[in-house]
């Protein structure tokens, strides 16, 4: 392997990269939305 191998030259398919990020982003967004809905109470008093 060359010392200057670029990190994207026909490795795993793009779909796998997207799927991996969706796998972790979906539950994260669920938690984030649940948290953000609570925040308005901070400014309602």
């Amino acid at each position: 392997m060359s010392a200057s191998t670029p990190d994207r030259t026909g490795g795993p398919p793009v779909a796998l990269v997207v799927l991996a990020w969706v796998w972790v982003a979906a539950p994260f967004l669920y938690g984030l939305i649940a948290l953000l809905t609570k925040i308005p109470a901070l400014f309602s008093g």
Partner: protein
């Protein structure tokens, strides 16, 4: 050769040419988002106390043991994690963490609470420690140009784990009739069972996808010579055994311990602190809801700080970023002691920044270790440094609660003044410790050929 089973061994996961390094952060996140659930343990507490008729102290025991086991297992298994590789470590962490839930479910079904303590706190706690350090050295090797960003993403996941687990656990317990004054114990057990199964599946993606870079791999266009130009960044290798003999290790231990203790000063009492600062501003019910929202906004600041400040550290250097966390952190605590009641905007900005520095202290430390000790055994060194976290986890609540108890007759913000002053002193001591950090002396460096050939043998 590591001697581990073939599929889990380091040799099996050396990335082929062209592998995308952007698959490594989600693999790491699938572990950290799962094990970060530990900070949502309180979601189970009410149901356990009423359903199993146990005290608050007893219901907190699995969490406390879990955090203690995290520090111990990270320190004890750190070298093994570096030797056997990230797939082995992530698989072991997944197995332990999921098994912890399953054993706990069995314990609740059988009415044997000790099984919950041993399962979640003991077995699950080992999973926490191994899981926490498992992707760190791999991420640093894949992102030598941006180690702060890489570890920031993963360790932000640990903060985000509670964000997911809190509403998820609460809704599951509610659906299984395991909330209220008479929760169904079988419903609690079922919730534990489902947590174990779902986390096992979720974490599988991590250990299936993880890859280590080949020994001679480097990012396209990255020039290691530029890295050498920074005085605090070493290209030499220091073993974990030697690292703990250096003053640099113990100075960083103090930095991490005091930075975490200072953050816990707010985190531990966030709800009552808010209510005491703004007790005259709104009716009791609105105040309680606002205090709950305040706790939520602090977790958001804690989580975002892990990513944002750690990424900034790649640009301004690790020593400078800790100057910010500790120096500005002390000034923010000072501001809190003077603002008194009513100034909500200043109060929110100060507390959110303090919590962002608290989270960032965790996520920046692996990159600081890499700068000082090299990548050779950075995972094992990181594991040993996490004993500072365990210490702070005990020290912080003791300081804050002891002072608050002693001033229980005082009302308003002044109730917290002594605790805030103690935090300022700790942050100043941490600042001084950071100032004393210098590059590691040559005598601790591994002979270049030996360290390199060992690393190449692993990959």
């Amino acid at each position: 050769m590591s001697g581990t089973p073939g599929f889990l061994s380091r040799e099996r996961i050396v990335a082929p040419p062209g592998w995308s390094r952007w698959l490594v952060p989600p693999a790491a996140l699938s572990i950290h988002l799962a094990i970060g659930q530990v900070y949502a343990w309180s979601a189970f507490k009410g149901s356990l106390e009423k359903g199993l008729d146990i005290s608050g102290v007893l219901s907190a025991l699995p969490f406390t043991l879990g955090i203690v086991m995290l520090g111990i297992s990270a320190a004890v298994f750190g070298t093994k994690v570096d030797t056997n590789g990230p797939r082995w470590a992530m698989a072991v962490a997944s197995a332990c963490f999921a098994t912890g839930f399953l054993v706990s479910a069995l314990g609740i079904w059988l009415g044997q609470y000790w099984l919950v303590v041993v399962g979640y706190g003991g077995i699950g706690g080992i999973g926490l420690g191994i899981g926490y350090i498992s992707p760190v050295s791999t991420l640093i090797k894949w992102f030598p140009d941006r180690p702060g960003l890489a570890t920031g993403i993963a360790i932000m996941g640990f903060g985000g784990g509670a964000l997911i687990a809190n509403p998820w656990t609460a809704s599951m317990l509610s659906a299984f009739g395991a909330t209220g004054n008479d929760p169904n114990p079988n419903g609690i057990a079922l919730a534990f069972l489902i947590h174990g199964v779902v986390y096992a599946v979720f974490m599988t993606m991590g250990w299936l996808l993880i890859r280590v870079p080949a020994a001679d791999w480097k990012p396209a266009g990255w020039d290691p010579a530029k890295q050498k130009a920074r005085a605090m960044v070493s290209t030499a290798s220091v073993s974990a055994a030697n690292a703990i003999k250096t003053p640099q290790f113990w100075l960083l231990w103090i930095v991490l311990c005091f930075n975490v203790t200072a953050g816990i000063g707010i985190l531990e009492k966030a709800n009552p602190i808010y209510q005491d600062f703004f007790r005259d501003a709104s009716p009791a019910q609105t105040l309680a809801a606002a205090a709950t929202a305040f706790v939520s906004i602090l977790s958001l600041a804690n989580m975002l700080g892990r990513f944002v400040w750690s990424t900034v550290s790649d640009l301004i250097g690790r020593k400078n970023i800790y100057r910010l966390y500790l120096g500005v952190g002390a000034l923010l605590y000072l501001a809190l002691t003077f603002i008194g009641e009513g100034n909500k905007a200043v109060f929110l900005i100060c507390t959110m920044l303090i919590l962002s520095f608290y989270g960032a202290g965790f996520s920046t430390i692996p990159a600081y270790l890499r700068d000082l000790f090299g990548t050779y055994q950075v995972g094992a060194i990181h594991g040993r440094l996490l004993t500072a976290w365990s210490t702070a986890g005990v020290l912080g609540p003791i300081i804050v609660n002891a002072i608050a108890d002693a001033r229980s007759d005082v009302a308003g913000p002044s109730k917290y003044t002594p605790a805030f002053l103690v935090m300022i002193v700790l942050l100043v001591l941490g600042f001084v410790a950071n100032e004393l950090v210098r590059p590691v002396a040559d005598k601790w460096h591994e002979p270049e050929r030996a360290a390199r050939s060992e690393e190449e043998a692993r990959t």
